[in-house]
Symmetry: C2
Subunit: 506 residues, 2 copies
């Protein structure tokens, strides 16, 4: 192939990817609007509009022309370095293309129609605690999810094709040992904490001004490095970050008056958003412009929310300012007690409200149940009991209803069963590993944080993680940054040190 | 053609129109976001995303399959009543299709690329008052506009194909006599008013709380009948109404502290929005779901803003409440003086700030200039002088710069030259004619307005105008509602009575 032919193929591929990205971005804008401002009357048409955009994007991406263009470019990029942008473009696009083209078009549209009904059924049934109403939908979803896996006959485990969607390079075989060790270790730590006197409760009858929380949260993430010229924050029910282009990556949050969870949610979403704002601008509108995986994404959100935002150095700087923002509500709580309060460990039923120590256990429960369901070991009718048994076993609490048990998360009711949760726990592990690498390069980071500055940390993440988008897989990124595989030690050490101090263990 | 074949063609046509409407609605949502919330960094990608959606919608609508489906349905609908929904669907879709397919695809994409550059050039040049910078763009736009017309060799006047885009059924030949008579009459009235003592000025150093204005405006349009469950209001620079579906029709406004124009802008946009909210739901996602024309649309916005919102009965009811909303700022202004102040006539340079009497003159100037430019009588280089001469002649004021003269409106810099303005003045005429018809059917409407209620008027408009969408052309609608053609008398009588009273003429 001549250079000219290569350039022509590359240009056409990029033009097609841009059109596909425009359609997907438009669908994301429609979703953002739906979750923030859309009046109730817009719902019916919006579902149709979103489906039209997603279907068009999918059809254009699975067009055989894409495969032919990748084939045409392959010999040339084979002689380029693995790290080159062109090689990465072809590698990542082909990976996505090969995955997407395995799924028949009819299957996709059947599943899309089903899952839209399933979501509506869940939204109506959950407040009524009616698991029976969603059982037929879940059963069908599980069937769809197993059929989905059947299009990947070479997969080692039935859950692997689902995991590959969000955490490419990870498999059940690589995740299980990590989760097995993590589960035992987290349970032990939670047990030790449970034997110690409880720390203060941040709630405790206090009233926190929502506007002041909102402003404080925005000021903090501005200092983190979230660029409000290329983003904004709006109110929603279930906080998320969303990218419409590298120049427009938005966050959302919710703020309550009886707790300050909203500011941690803002920090969390800013971690996702800074990642996407930091991608190399030349990757715009290509598959390289996404984050590496759900695990790496979550490592970034959790790093800013927990490792930075719930740390003592951070609050040494910000607590006096935050106290002023909150009127007199925190006057009775000294810095150290506030720090202990925002890191309170308490086994509970709800994943999204869980503390740092027990959070991973909520995730591992879901991961194990997904595997059991997909393997055929567990039926949907048996799922609530299995759920409750695992909560009793892992966390020592047992849901009294479905609403706060198996019906709490939207995931299985609005998407596949499989591959939906592992990233949340892997992200915590990776967050500590990446932060450790940053500290090794810049031991002054904690001092910088204590001074209310975050440039060194943000720059390190920008240089080593953000700008690469999804050029590297999760495992490649870990290898590049730490010189080895995923390791639990940094995460364990982080939790051990932090909670031994907070709860006075040993 | 059998019934089954007809049904199949109809189903396929509706499915295709739905997909096209989904793409257009998505583009409208992107535009709304751009005008309300988008951070500056999103601009570049947003332009590309919008173009992708508009181009896809255009290509899908001009697909020959649409023509074949219309052909297949034609014999069957020919035997249906003119008023039937199916006949209207085929009639209106074919009209749009015939118009759209006249324009070559290449022309469309060239024009789209040009006009995007033109808009950017205008936005940069206007604050600098730099007409030279936009001259090459305007010259090219005029060339595009004339070529556009050349695709309609059967058009009587070179501006007619442009007028047909927004005001189908109207032509230069039908508009010119109306505007000619209107121009003389409005000039005479303005001159008579100019000889009378001026009425009070609402501004006059007062400070109007923006939040209170916002809330009052929303309360008023809620009472008009604007449905906030199927709409919402947001802030923007240049107010507009926009429909994403019949269940989601939004308005935007801007509020200043030194004047109360924001509440009239809210009323104006609610007039557009109630029209679109009121369309027969069975027309959803078809070409029938739009308003009949820009003139009819404007008749609805102006009716609510001016005939209702600037009337004495309206303020007899609302003024005490409004005074309370505005703190003590209006305590010195009695109802009648307030009424006179919000109807103050003052020839000025800026169309969007013009009063009811002079507004039409601003529009007629632009209409005449468009005709002269398209006919080749006037060159772009001569446009500023021609503009200023007409302002001097029609309004007795002469712009001292381009910014407040020929560069004030975005229209010619962001779209064709031709067909952009006539609807604004025709709308005022139609508004009075329609309101007259409503009064004839329900003489109690002014009393209802004075009681702060609007149900009878809203219901009459709903039944006679809104629900029909664009089933009927402008002229058909006027004929149906008034039994004749467009007539100036109701508009002249409305202005004559109102301003004779306000200014004490004769």
């Amino acid at each position: 192939m001549t250079n000219t032919q290569y350039d022509a193929a590359r240009s056409e591929l990029l033009a097609r990817l841009r059109e596909i990205d425009d359609l997907s971005a438009a669908a994301d804008i429609l979703h953002w609007d739906q979750a923030t401002y859309m009046p109730p009357g817009g719902a019916a048409a919006r579902a149709r509009q979103s489906a039209t955009l997603r279907t068009l994007a999918h059809n254009k991406f699975t067009d055989p022309v894409i495969g032919r263009l990748l084939d045409a470019m392959q010999p040339t990029v084979d002689s380029m370095p693995y790290d080159s942008d062109d090689a990465a473009l072809v590698r990542v696009t082909r990976r996505d293309y090969d995955h997407a083209t395995r799924i028949p078009t009819q299957f996709m549209s059947d599943f899309t129609a089903h899952i839209s009904d399933s979501f509506v059924a869940w939204a109506a049934a959950r407040p009524k605690n009616d698991f029976k109403a969603v059982t037929p939908f879940l059963t069908k979803t599980l069937d769809f999810s197993r059929r989905y896996s059947s299009y990947f006959p070479d997969a080692e485990h039935v859950a692997d094709p689902h995991i590959a969607r969000s955490d490419y390079s990870m498999t059940v075989a690589t995740i299980r040992p990590i989760f097995s060790e993590l589960r035992t270790w987290l349970s032990d730590l939670a047990a030790k904490i449970g034997q110690r006197p409880q720390v203060p409760d941040i709630t405790n009858g206090r009233v926190f001004d929502p506007t002041a929380q909102w402003q404080f949260g925005e000021e903090v993430v501005r200092r983190f490095g979230y660029d409000f010229d290329r983003g904004r924050q709006d109110k929603t029910h279930h906080p998320f970050a969303t990218k419409f282009s590298i120049g427009d990556v938005r966050i959302t949050t919710r703020v309550f008056t009886d707790t300050i969870s909203g500011i941690f949610s803002t920090m969390h979403e800013s971690g996702h958003a800074m990642y996407e704002q930091g991608v190399d601008p030349s990757y715009e509108a290509t598959p390289l412009a996404d984050g590496a995986s759900s695990a790496v994404h979550e490592s970034q959100s959790r790093l800013w929310e927990n490792i930075v935002g719930r740390s003592l150095p951070f609050w040494r700087h910000f607590y006096p300012e935050f106290q002023r923002h909150m009127g007199d509500q925190l006057d009775d709580l000294a810095l150290r007690d506030f720090y202990r309060a925002i890191n309170r460990v308490q086994p509970s039923l709800i994943r999204v409200d869980a503390d740092e120590v027990t959070y991973g256990l909520h995730v591992i429960i879901r991961f194990e149940l997904e595997c059991d369901l997909l393997e055929g070991k567990l039926r949907i009718s048996e799922l609530p009991d299995a759920w409750n048994a695992k909560y009793a076993e892992f966390l020592g609490v047992r849901p009294k209803d479905y609403r706060n048990g198996v019906m709490q998360d939207v995931h299985w009711y609005a998407d596949y069963i499989g591959g939906m949760f592992q990233g949340y726990a892997l992200g915590n592990v990776l967050g500590s590993q990446f932060y450790g690498a940053a500290l090794q390069a810049h031991p002054e980071i904690p001092a910088e944080i204590e001074a209310g500055r975050f440039d060194i940390l943000h720059n390190w993440l920008q240089t080593n993680i953000y700008r690469h988008g999804c050029k590297y897989t999760t495992l490649e990124l870990v290898e590049r940054l730490t010189g080895g595989p995923i390791r639990l030690e940094p995460y364990k050490e982080y939790l051990q040190t932090k909670y031994a101090d907070i709860y006075g263990i040993r």
